[in-house]
């Protein structure tokens, strides 16, 4: 079944193996609060509204960012 199919992505600069999923799924898997992060795939923003729809594929470069103290 596709369920057990795994993909390899680059997450915040590190390689990761994980079961095929959507961006929303990734955020959930990572245990992150969805409202405090933003996600970019292959240097293009994936707007919050599209996280469910957007499936990740092998080789995707994913950036998951949040807000931190800065001036």
């Amino acid at each position: 079944m596709t369920g057990c199919e795994t993909i390899g992505i680059e997450l915040n600069g590190e390689r990761r193996e994980l079961a095929r999923t959507s961006v929303a799924g990734l955020v959930a898997q990572l245990g992150l609060r969805p409202e405090v992060v933003a996600v970019e795939v292959n240097q293009t923003l994936v707007p919050r509204a599209e996280r469910e729809r957007r499936e990740l594929a092998s080789g995707d470069k994913v950036e998951v960012v949040t807000l931190v103290g800065g001036g």
Binding site: N12, L45, T66
Partner: protein, 278 residues
């Protein structure tokens, strides 16, 4: 909101508000959130400073501790406008992507654009800054742009649609204050959008000097966060901002080479020895 666009009383302190895009501020101090001990110190410093606009940076989630409390938990958004920045970007493309990411989290069009030239001086790269300003404006951002104190560069950025020009008084974190007041003065003559002095502020008098020049506001971070006593310095910066602003509006006395007696020259008692000078 219009209710707050005028400081009510007392009459002799009446001032207009600082308006940036859709936002109206009665405090002219903008504060960064970096370098604090913890969220609690950040929260206290923001509150004491009296600021209504705080800037934050965008960084990769720490995947190990990312589950913990977020900086956003420390910032009451009903009270502070959050101004995301692109600190750490060294080219226009990264800055634009960073602004987009910030907008997605915060649902704000505001962005403090920084496109830096090198990690040693952290001075802004004029070419990347012009490029990114143009692109972000096209994408509907309200761009507050960090730049050098080059007055004509400020004009170019205003022409590209920046909603505020933010010249560095001196290099980020250098604490040297306003190194070239003359440049700020000329910039203020040439641009119409708010000019907010950003970077270089080391102590209270630096803020007062910026405001006395006629700046619309001052943004600072290190000056408070890295002071020996951040909370005390937050109060000092708050008072310096109002002091400088009010002094600007009050119209200072001119500078003279010397002397202008504050006591009457007439009615002196007869001097023992020499005659009255008057």
């Amino acid at each position: 909101m219009t209710a707050t666009t005028e400081i009510a009383t007392p009459p002799w302190l009446a001032d207009e508000s600082l308006v940036i895009g859709a936002h109206v501020f009665t405090s002219r101090l903008l504060v960064g959130t970096g370098k604090y001990k913890d969220n609690e110190e950040t929260r206290a410093a923001l509150e004491i400073s009296g600021t209504q606009c705080v800037t934050v940076a965008v960084r990769r989630v720490n995947l190990d501790v990312g589950k913990g409390p977020s900086l956003l938990d420390a910032i009451d958004r009903s009270r502070y406008v959050i101004l995301p920045n692109t600190a750490g970007c060294y080219d226009a493309a990264s800055a634009v992507r960073t602004a987009q990411l910030a907008r997605d989290v915060l649902e704000t069009n505001l962005v403090k654009l920084e496109v830096l030239g090198d990690p040693k001086t952290l001075l802004p790269d004029p070419v990347g800054t012009l490029e990114a300003t143009k692109e972000l404006v096209k994408q509907g951002f309200h761009v507050l742009v960090y730049t050098s104190d080059d007055p004509r560069l400020g004009v170019r950025l205003e022409e590209l649609g920046a909603v505020a020009v933010m010249p560095a008084g001196s290099p980020i974190g250098s604490g040297q204050g306003i190194l070239n007041p003359n440049a700020i003065r000329i910039l203020l003559e040439l641009v119409r959008v708010p000019v907010i002095v950003d970077a270089g502020v080391g102590t209270a008098s630096d803020v007062a000097i910026a405001m006395e020049l006629g700046a619309a506001g001052v943004l600072l971070n290190t000056g408070i966060a890295s002071a020996r006593e951040p909370l005390r310095m937050a109060a000092a910066m708050r008072d310096a901002c109002t002091a400088g602003r009010q002094a600007f509006l009050a119209g200072r006395i001119p500078r003279k080479l010397y002397a202008n007696a504050s006591s009457p020259a007439e009615g002196l008692i007869h001097a023992a020895g020499r005659p009255d000078p008057a």
